[in-house]
Point group: C2
Chain length 313, copies 2
């Protein structure tokens, strides 16, 4: 009899769900809305209902399901307890137990969304073929996920891989959302990149195409750097330096095989991985040189894949 598992990635707006075969194929994927009203108390029952509907549609029984994996946008301990999840309105409770009792399926694994995305990229994406990998997600914020011997490194309080808050500038005076100063996220998130561009444009009189753009974005900066704009080039080098330094810190702690770069900013492509690699090599000790830097390939599906992989092992 064929066996199946579900991979569920709970986001602030939608829940992405995938049905996978035990042979590691994606058979179906769909989305439901994340209902955040009533303190987020409807989210897990909505998911349970959706899984149940899909099983009925496909003629799958509970006995055919080897497990459910879930990615949650907050810190998760090893036993599946969420330690507050502001985005969903959740406090502290055991998500794994809750999903088990809602679905009647015993094997439920829960991970932090950035961590399960990293696992997904290792399984089917940019990190394929590697067992020791770090994923950096450069989006609205900067997140990370660390995979050691093919497994997620969660950390003692579910806060491993919080690489957006590595200090990469000890002289920064502005405060990060986390309360401290000089975090990677302040320079390498989509908003951080634009903030740095505006800072530079104010500091110098040099001409730049960037001055003509009403709403600057990371994409415009990369596009202009590729086209030879000098200040855009300076900004890309600076971004590469901050990311390279952050990766040098990460390597000195966990010595991975490969870095996989994802999130909206990574749409810039090879220019981004190349500039990170250059500054990484300049800022890391000899024994840690020569890591690979790759682009993520699964986009928004990474979390769904990684959630399933937690179950398939």
């Amino acid at each position: 009899m064929a066996k199946y598992c579900f991979g569920v990635d709970i986001g602030g707006t939608t829940v992405k769900i995938g049905l996978f075969s035990e042979k590691e194929e994606l058979l179906d994927k769909w989305e439901i809305v994340t209902r955040k009203d009533e303190g987020g108390s409807l989210i897990l029952s909505d998911i349970a209902q959706s899984l149940s509907d899909k099983m009925e549609e496909k003629g799958i029984t509970k006995d055919d399901i080897v497990g459910i994996g879930l990615g949650v946008p907050g810190p998760i301990t090893a036993d599946g307890t969420v330690l507050k999840c502001v985005n969903l309105g959740w406090g502290v409770f055991n998500v794994a137990n809750e999903v088990s009792s809602l679905t009647g399926i015993e094997n439920v694994k829960v991970g932090n969304d950035a961590n399960v995305a990293a696992l997904g990229e290792m399984w089917k994406g940019g990190g394929k073929g590697h067992k020791n990998m770090v994923m950096m997600t450069l989006g609205t914020g900067v997140g990370g996920g660390i995979i050691i011997n093919g497994k997620i490194l969660a950390g003692s309080n579910g806060a491993a891989g919080e690489i957006g808050h590595l200090t990469v500038n000890y002289d920064e005076e502005e405060t990060c959302g986390c309360g401290k100063k000089g975090c990677l996220e302040q320079f390498a998130s989509a908003t951080g990149i634009v903030k740095e561009a505006n800072r530079l444009l104010l500091k110098t009189d040099k001409p730049s195409k960037l001055r003509d753009i009403q709403y600057l974005s990371a994409k415009e900066i990369f596009d202009n750097a590729k086209a030879g704009d000098e200040l855009a080039g300076v900004l890309v080098e600076q971004l590469g330096r901050y990311l390279g330094i952050a990766c040098s810190h990460i390597s000195a702690v966990v010595d991975p095989e490969v870095y996989v770069i994802g999130g909206g900013v990574s749409k810039a492509g090879d220019i981004l991985t190349d500039v990170i690699k250059k500054h990484y090599e300049d800022n890391v000790m000899f024994a840690l040189k020569g890591k690979e830097f790759k682009l993520a390939t699964l986009g928004n599906d990474a979390g769904m894949y990684g959630s399933a992989k937690m179950v398939l092992g």
Copy 2:
């Protein structure tokens, strides 16, 4: 029948060996000289002979030995291959296989010396009761060992826990032995601490008891700071800041429960752990605050304990 294991810590001068019971008690410990002539080719056979002698002395047969653990001062991969060990004159070879064939004992585990010391401190020392721990050894250099779920994190090239080469000062102009600039080791090793003291004494005219000392040492600096000497106090704060920043980087990657500080510099005692903790809290994001900082307790025996623990599991 009682069962035993050996824990062996290979240092540049002596090899420390412990005989342990399967019940995790240390039954005997002794040392032999590390013979580094002939490219270090005698070291493992000397160890094999010493183990054989001890087994004869105690009336223990090979069948009573559950395994041998070895700590080696160089990078070691997961399968027990050493990737050069300059201190011993070794190139690249599989230490585990070599020791197996010399002793006739199949179960041989090999780890990097800093990593096995960390495991030893987790088992019987400052990190007792914890499964996720980081050890920092502040001696001639700065080394580290990272324990995740009770196991050593070796890294893809055996270079995980190279925390002496975390960059803690992006403006430093002097070059570290590793080839880059601003490494923790340049400020927090025994020699780094004294170098920073001499820098400060040259930079200011302020009076300080430190000026009267012919051969400055880390110990003198701590002693004078405790006695209220202002410049010594400044140096201790600066050291604490560099170490606190390094720990903030480590936490953002692996989120441990506890930091254990060892090596000669740690003889300073609580003044050291207190000042690290203070600056750590000032330099880390909220989700990672509140870690414990403890002193190592096993001294030079940590590696011998940790080597045995690799075998006992």
